[in-house]
Assembly symmetry: C2
């Protein structure tokens, strides 16, 4: 419960003071974060022979050997990239989570995670006027998150989705208002909890809708506010009920022949469910789709082939832009991206595409070099083919959640604008 409180208040005092990470369980003193971005990990493992810290690229790009100090193993990392990182310990070859951390569904399992605050947030001269990050709650009206379960005829499953409603949705004066909807997907090895728990989607959306732009990462002038909209987050894995495969490796499921089940669930079941349950603008003008990594691939695959359903499209570190070499080494038969032929020729007629799709937005982090370079290369191809798009590169962030938070922060204010 102290998560955002600590992030905002306790991390301010000064560069030499370390505070428990905001992602710790309530009573855990470690990991601790310094104001300059250093982090100390500490775990009690009296019988271990060797302990290594492993995790996200922005935290430690290779395993870090920890040092034994009586019953505890510790390490302090030099300042690391701000934002959220998955991590875990490798104890004598065994992967285990940090008992001091909350867990987050990533890598196809529950892993520890750590939030590294914005260095501007915790610099000492900001104590009297703290900067609140764009992915934390501000004072003022709050949106809500809703959890739904629905039975899918396509997969035979009970499926869960989360829905964000903006602050005004339940106000009396909005009783007749209808809202556009962004369908927002997670990455491979993650699930529909990702944007809620790791992403802070409700705070990002509140802040761009209310125009709370005190963070240096905010979009342009304070007058650029996002339209009020719903955000729907479904599960990106789906297999047909009769496929006979119930426990397919989730990180491979979207590459399977039956991965079309995901698009079928989204377009034939989830969208009708949302349009039935909420006051939506229930047509393509009021519908956007975006996703990160695998979810970016799925967005291109589904939205480009359902242009009757979507008018705005976004990919954040979209995995469809793997280079052909990377695709080959991953065992994918994906041919190189070609605006003329890919996605059933959806991009072949630029004039038609530009008239129909009001926004094609593509982002990646500069520190995820393969995907970032692929984005530059393929954006050039698209522009050469006459396709209008918005390209964005988040500075210094890798294939991690800070990239995707920033992408949503930049993307959302461009949606559904006249």
């Amino acid at each position: 419960m102290k998560f955002y409180d600590r992030l905002i208040n306790e991390s301010a005092p000064g560069a030499q003071q370390a505070v428990p990470a905001t992602t710790n369980v309530p009573s855990a003193e470690y990991p601790r974060v310094y104001a300059d971005g250093r982090v100390t990990f500490r775990v009690r493992l009296p019988g271990a022979k060797s302990v290594r810290l492993e995790g996200g690229q922005g935290l430690c790009s290779s395993p870090v050997t920890m040092t034994k100090d009586q019953d505890y193993w510790t390490t302090t990392l030099a300042p690391v990239v701000m934002g959220f990182h998955y991590y875990w310990f490798n104890v004598d070859g065994i992967v285990m989570n940090d008992p001091g951390s909350q867990t987050f569904y990533g890598h196809g399992r529950q892993t520890s995670g750590i939030e590294i605050p914005d260095p501007q947030l915790i610099s000492s001269d900001l104590v009297t006027a703290p900067v609140i990050p764009f992915y934390a709650p501000h004072a003022g009206p709050q949106g809500q998150l809703h959890e739904h379960w629905y039975k899918s005829k396509i997969t035979g499953d009970w499926r869960r989705c989360y829905v964000y409603t903006p602050p005004a949705y339940f106000e009396a004066e909005s009783a007749a208002a209808r809202y556009p909807v962004l369908y927002l997907q997670h990455g491979a090895g993650e699930d529909e909890t990702g944007w809620v728990r790791q992403g802070g989607v409700n705070f990002i959306m509140d802040n761009v809708i209310l125009g709370n732009v005190s963070s240096f990462f905010a979009i342009g002038p304070a007058t650029v506010k996002a339209k009020e909209m719903l955000v729907v987050m479904g599960n990106g894995y789906a297999t047909y009920a009769d496929a006979g495969v119930r426990n397919a490796d989730p990180s491979e499921a979207y590459l399977r022949p039956d991965s079309k089940a995901f698009g079928a669930v989204l377009t034939q079941e989830l969208i009708p469910f949302i349009d039935r349950t909420y006051r939506t603008v229930a047509n393509r003008d009021g519908r956007a789709m975006a996703g990160l990594s695998m979810g970016g691939s799925q967005t291109m695959a589904v939205a480009l082939t359902h242009r009757d359903l979507f008018s705005h499209i976004g990919t954040f570190s979209g995995a469809q832009f793997s280079t052909p070499a990377a695709a080959q080494s991953a065992g994918q038969a994906t041919p190189p991206f070609d605006p003329k032929t890919s996605y059933g020729g959806a991009l072949a007629n630029a004039e038609d595409f530009n008239r129909n799709i009001r926004l094609l937005w593509m982002g990646a982090g500069t520190a995820e070099s393969a995907l970032n370079n692929a984005l530059r290369e393929n954006a050039d191809k698209l522009r050469a083919a006459g396709i209008k798009l918005t390209e964005y590169h988040t500075p210094g962030t890798a294939h991690e959640w800070q990239t995707w938070r920033l992408c949503l922060n930049k993307f959302a204010p461009l949606l559904f604008q006249a």
Copy 2:
């Protein structure tokens, strides 16, 4: 995503067939549950010298030594108590979670958990007419769960709460309807996610509201339906903003002198927030409070001293009914429960109490013998003092979630009835 699907469909085929537990992460084959309630655990730990399985009382009351088979450690338990159990592995003295399991916040940390289906559910003669447990989704209208964040002036924190709304709440014909509210608390070492993730609160409430009583655990005849109501689940830990204690051991926090902060947050901040945000019956006639274990103690402490705010009270394995000996061994100065003096004399005048409190409901599991015996003993004391109460003992379940699910299943239909 296959959680309830597997629970309902895949566990049916027969007693000799084992299926992955519904609480596993998507691709994990272990732990596996047999139709007769046996469970096989299996984990890859090539370098370990000894591995023990530890967990909830209904799963294994003492640690179970696992057997090495090449790189894997396994054990198969004789049929265990149905319901949800926390568990973990003790690997050469180190506690670690099962990478194959989802995690659940309990014991003050994220732990593995396993759902053991109702043995009636998975007996082979029910394949053609499966029994759906009262804590799983049925076909038909579904309620919703809502997540809110609110800033507490009392604690200085951003706090999270979950709200369940019944199926009809958002229907057009209910636009003017107001709903009573049950405030429902978690136990020590747990948080506001407990009733949602471990408890299945939304499914329990949907089923009692809709009268889906196909399970043999259902309340009485199918015509006994619970009133439509909201359920609000806040965090049970609170310290005053100026207390200077930010990381108190959460399992002890409620015994601290400043534990009154919890009652202050609930009565002065959470209730007004809910009454402002939802269409509630905003008076004592429309308000109930209940909780499990520590939350049962908190319910007694808060509701009995705020009878102007609550008219219905429930405790599930309420920890206030520890025996004096148990309290002493836990270092608690709690005097023995005395209807004449405890809770500021709230129960001293039975006639007055019975007129004001429309339901005092107390439950415990027969397999949690200390609490269960204390409940019998103290219920006798209360009846001898002229206090009307409803006493319930769940057969064969311990200090675990199946007891509390059953308590809610029995308690909810008695609320707010004329």
